[in-house]
Assembly symmetry: C2
Homo-oligomer: 327 residues x 2
């Protein structure tokens, strides 16, 4: 089996490669070839013995999508994208990468023809939703994004569904909840604190909490994100029907509950490394995000996330900290 991953150098791309390499296959078929695409050079996955092709290109560039599709990968994980803040500050780049890049990829698949019909797993986002929200967002709630990032994701979902309906490919859109705990350095995303208030204390460092502890949000680990994508690849057209874009399950909890979980898992000393530093702008941005999902279809289709936030912290300690916590 030949697998193409776009955005392979990103955090979820790397987590997915780790998972696929560990599994050694997808849907019961051994993986013998990986094509990894990203605008920055993707890394060769350690422990994978098949053919690996590393490509540094922007899919929206002329001919780039056709070039990566020419080898007819059996499964495509399309993760490439410009993040929310950048899509808002650089509108043209955001639409070019997040919409045109996706469309070029899907059109390259469509134009191949000749019976070629790969599975296409697309990472969408909860940013497709826009306030005001019901208490829990159901599967048939409309998409009214309040960012250009969310808009391009919602537009891409629609195209993916249409191309699936027309039989050019078998698509699944996976709307990720907040992925937490993100490994690595703190970033400037408004959502960054959800991860940093766990990650930094576990590493012995102070973290700033810019919002009140009553803020509610839905989380899944990076390991779950990779799991969603792998599970999505196993679903048949019959199971999915025409509505192929799905909100994923996650752990819904408050920031206060996040902190309590940290205390339970790692102790008082670690939890005491969180310092309250209210930031009204961040509080306001976060208030516009969806809080809770009633992800019935995804659960019925067998998607699973962590049971509680304690488990999300343990996954981070296991996967990203080699099991160690800074005392």
């Amino acid at each position: 089996m030949h697998i193409l991953i776009t955005g392979a150098a990103g955090m979820i791309g790397r987590k997915l490669m780790t998972r696929l390499t560990k599994d050694g296959g997808l849907n019961g078929q051994p993986i013998d070839r990986l094509t990894l695409v990203d605008v920055v050079a993707p890394e060769r996955p350690p422990g994978f013995n098949g053919t690996v092709e590393l490509i540094s290109r922007d899919l929206a560039d002329d001919g780039a999508a056709a070039a990566v599709i020419a080898a007819r990968p059996d499964a495509v994980f399309h993760l490439a994208g410009v993040v929310s803040a950048e899509a808002e500050t650089d509108l043209e780049k955001g639409y070019r990468v997040n919409l045109d890049g996706t469309r070029e990829l899907l059109d390259a698949i469509r134009r191949t023809g000749d019976g070629y019909r790969p599975k296409v797993m697309f990472t969408s986002s909860c940013a497709v939703y826009g306030a005001p929200f019901p208490d829990a967002i159901g599967d048939d709630f409309h998409l009214t994004p309040l960012t250009s990032y969310g808009t391009a994701k919602a537009m891409s979902e629609l195209l993916l569904a249409d191309y699936t309906r027309r039989g050019f490919l078998d698509g699944v859109g996976v709307r990720l909840p907040a992925i937490c705990v993100r490994p690595g350095k703190p970033n400037k995303a408004a959502s960054g604190f959800f991860s940093s208030i766990i990650r930094e204390p576990l590493a012995g460092e102070e973290a700033l909490l810019p919002v009140s502890e009553s803020v509610l949000h839905t989380f899944a680990s990076p390991r779950s994100a990779a799991g969603f994508l792998v599970h999505a690849a196993s679903l048949t057209r019959e199971q999915l029907g025409d509505r192929i874009n799905l909100a994923m399950p996650g752990v819904c909890c408050t920031v206060g509950e996040q902190i309590e979980a940290l205390r339970r898992v790692a102790g008082d000393t670690v939890a005491a490394r969180i310092r309250r530093a209210k930031d009204d702008l961040v509080e306001r941005i976060v208030a516009g995000w969806p809080h809770r999902f009633d992800a019935r279809r995804a659960l019925a289709l067998g998607f699973t996330a962590e049971k509680d936030f304690d488990e999300i912290i343990r996954v981070h300690i296991e996967d990203d900290r080699g099991g160690r916590v800074a005392a």
Copy 2:
């Protein structure tokens, strides 16, 4: 006031021009200039004394959108589009006209900058919805189109909303119900019979009814369609909020009720000109269409359609038959 109408040669474009010419203004401002664009040559509206520019061009062509926007029209009615059946048989043309044409237009407005921020009224369609449906489709029901036409309309709605949110323009997306009675010759659209079972009998001709009388659908007259667009132009950003794409109201009735209305308005002889000729394909296509809307927001914002199907028939007799019915 300078008004641009795309798709000006189409049925709704002509009805809109008739309405605007009759009103002589829009939002209380006199209209002194009309720019009419269509791929086929639009006609100069009779009775309009201002400047008229007629342009035969495809908005998706390089530079076409920038050229029509260069004169900075105050209000843009964007009606241009390829119909449902053609977008399904010619996928590339459908997306090119219905998505790229819209995007080029909105991008031409965005790139103008310099404080230019026109009103943009966009004709979307109930084809943005896809079965299965609730009994009545509410304003927050998700868009899962089952045609490439509906997909491009839904994608365009999203872009219109994002560009409105970002302040490049003031957009309103108007999701039209079935427009009935369409004047003119019968066409091959699967929905054609909804109009022809009224129009042909009133003209003294036989009409075929391909579906059962229990089929339920929502209708508004061409006069109402023009009215929706004119009313949309009067709404402020404050009234609309961020959710600028709206399902329009209409008359929800069965085909049997359509026929009873025809009998009431025009008599038994006219109604007897409908011949039952079941067509399973048409019946199946129609079954996948939305039936009924709970268009609360549009009603609250002051959009109005006809009260009942009798009124829709009377509007047709008045506007398209000079008040005459073939005995």
